[in-house]
């Protein structure tokens, strides 16, 4: 039973870990911790939400616990400082693959990466993120803006300067 659960969901949850944790070894550790936690609390799952959402939530919490030790959001840039340099991409982006985009996210500074994942991908609001990470709401907003700017810059640079083409696997 435990093995089946792992084989069914480990792949997706591993991607979640890698979105939050850049180092592969640390991402594996987080996945491992999360699954141990899942198995020890699986009897508390009450079928009130999709199982995968429940599993994902535990993985995210485990990843956040891991990230909190580093306090990555101490160096925050104000959103106003970054606003003027937001690029305007008006061309179609080339075909991208998941691995390339994952690398872009992983290259973000830890604080930006965490907030970006929580806000843009998981769908949390800034007040919720502020409570989760014990930071100011403004910090969450600025970190997200910074992450978004950096990602946009990288994508635009790729199309402008013809960075190595990204091939789908």
């Amino acid at each position: 039973m435990q093995r089946q659960l792992y084989e069914r969901f480990a792949g997706r949850l591993f991607v979640v870990c890698k979105r939050y944790i850049k180092e592969p070894d640390e991402a594996e550790d987080v996945l491992q911790d999360a699954f141990v936690k899942i198995y020890r609390h699986i009897d508390s799952f009450r079928f009130e939400c999709p199982l995968e959402a429940w599993l994902k939530r535990i993985v995210i919490n485990t990843a956040l616990k891991h990230i909190r030790k580093e306090k990555p959001w101490d160096n925050t840039a104000d959103i106003q400082e970054l606003a003027p340099i937001l690029p305007q991409a008006d061309e179609s982006l080339p075909t991208l693959n998941y691995q390339y985009l994952l690398n872009l996210v992983q290259e973000l500074p830890p604080g930006c990466r965490t907030v970006f994942n929580l806000y843009a991908i998981e769908g949390y609001s800034h007040p919720e993120i502020a409570r989760m990470l014990d930071i100011a709401e403004g910090t969450s907003k600025s970190q997200y803006a910074r992450a978004r700017t950096m990602l946009q810059q990288k994508l635009v640079n790729e199309q402008r300067y013809g960075l190595p083409p990204i091939q789908n696997e």
Partner: protein, 539 residues
Amino acid sequence: MNEFDKNPDEFWRSVFDDVAETPPPRVWDAIERRLDEPDEAGIVPLWGAGFFANRPVSWGMGVAATMALLLVGWWLSQSPETRQPVASQQTKPFVTKSPQPDAVALNQPVHQESSTALSSASNKQQQRNGAGYADASSTKAPTLSGRLPGSVAPAQPAERLAQQARSVSARSGEAGRLSLENASKNPSGDQIVMDVPPTSPAPSALLSSSAAKALAAKSLVDVPEEAPDQLAFRMQTLNPRPMKLRSAGQIHRIVWVQPYEAPQKPALAESNRSSREHWVSLNVMPGSFNPAVSVQAAQPALASAYGSNITNSSQPTVKNRAELSMSYQANAGVQLNDHWSVESGVGYLAGHATIDSPSEPYPASMLSFGKASGMPLNTLYTDVLRQSVQRNTIVTADNAISTNWASASAYNSLYAYDPQTRQTLTNDYQFVQVPIQVGYQLRPRKRLGLALLGGFLTNIFLRNMVENQLVIKPEDGVYQPVTLAAAMGARFQYRSSQRWSASLAGMYQPTLGSATKSSSSIQSRPTTTGMSFGVDYHF
């Protein structure tokens, strides 16, 4: 403006939706290893700072202390004296004594010692069945909407879990992703809305099926991180909202190609690891052994057979006192599942007790002198014991009927016991024990475990030595060669490492039925109570 610029968040969300990357096999190996270890949350030292502050430990210590007090109390209440009246029809001639103590040589064994075969029980393993989360052979995948609370009929948790797993599996095979446009075309089907705190900005209420997971996860924001069992949220059907149209203008198309993902194969071969755990243990149990001896009156038949007068005696009694006894056991067990275990083994019980019996009216000084010098024991208990031995000897050896039994009668007919003169006789019992017991673990996978034990104990009688002079053996026909005792108790087990653990158990072992033969004038129903200390090695 392209899709990215219009809604970058949705862009990123869709990128990472339904992508999977097989973790290295070492991740599962590590998980498996950690699951085999005791629960980290339950690690508590048996000593050191903060030990008593731990609630489970303090409760466990309280239960253990209560059990110990109850056992000691029971021991004290049982051990002082167990008065057993001699039958009212005891005859005077029987409780008399012959002046010539020639009936039985007290320090002479009646028969040669014989060997006793031991048998041990073997455990039968049972196949453990467990409900899986998902049935890989199942082909029918329920729809995503089937997972919504409003449409899910109450079902067994395991079945619902498997259903969700199959649903996700089926969905992972879809080539394309559902877009927001698709969702808006079908607003009443799979759309859900989550309750969010009033202070929180309302999230995007309109979601596609593929976004349901992210929304569900979002709803869990207020759940404490360390308490995933409190993941509770409320879902209700969303009222349809008008479809959002794209702004007019040039449309930049971004072609998203789903990278080919090879079908995920199990990264690891099926584990041959058995979840059953085996262990061996060595236990020492100091405790009390109370033989509960009583003297029955077989005398009426004997008296009438020899033409003696039957008179009521003053009903002299024998008193039992439990003494410190030791039991040694080597056991092997198997853990059938998280809660149940079976164990068996072999043991040795050295039971000590004293029996206070009426004696012949020797002066006290003479009694003490005689005891020290190995003087023949002439007490009610020993005489009845000897007669039981003799009678069984006669039954098995007809050639001695006339001489020996007549001597015994003459021996007893000439002397009456004085209830005021009593003599304390030590009894040293020896048994070989074969326990078979079932354990129910109340705290599975915890470092400090508590299990309830129940089962049976086969006691194979070896011998009983009375006052280091009179030896009763199985072939004497007084004691049952094999008796059955119930075994019950509770055991604390402290798992100091993956392999080793220490256990402390309180055991109560009453004999079922009489330990003596029905033809014997001595009746005994021993009871053993004690605290067992053990060391276990787990495989």
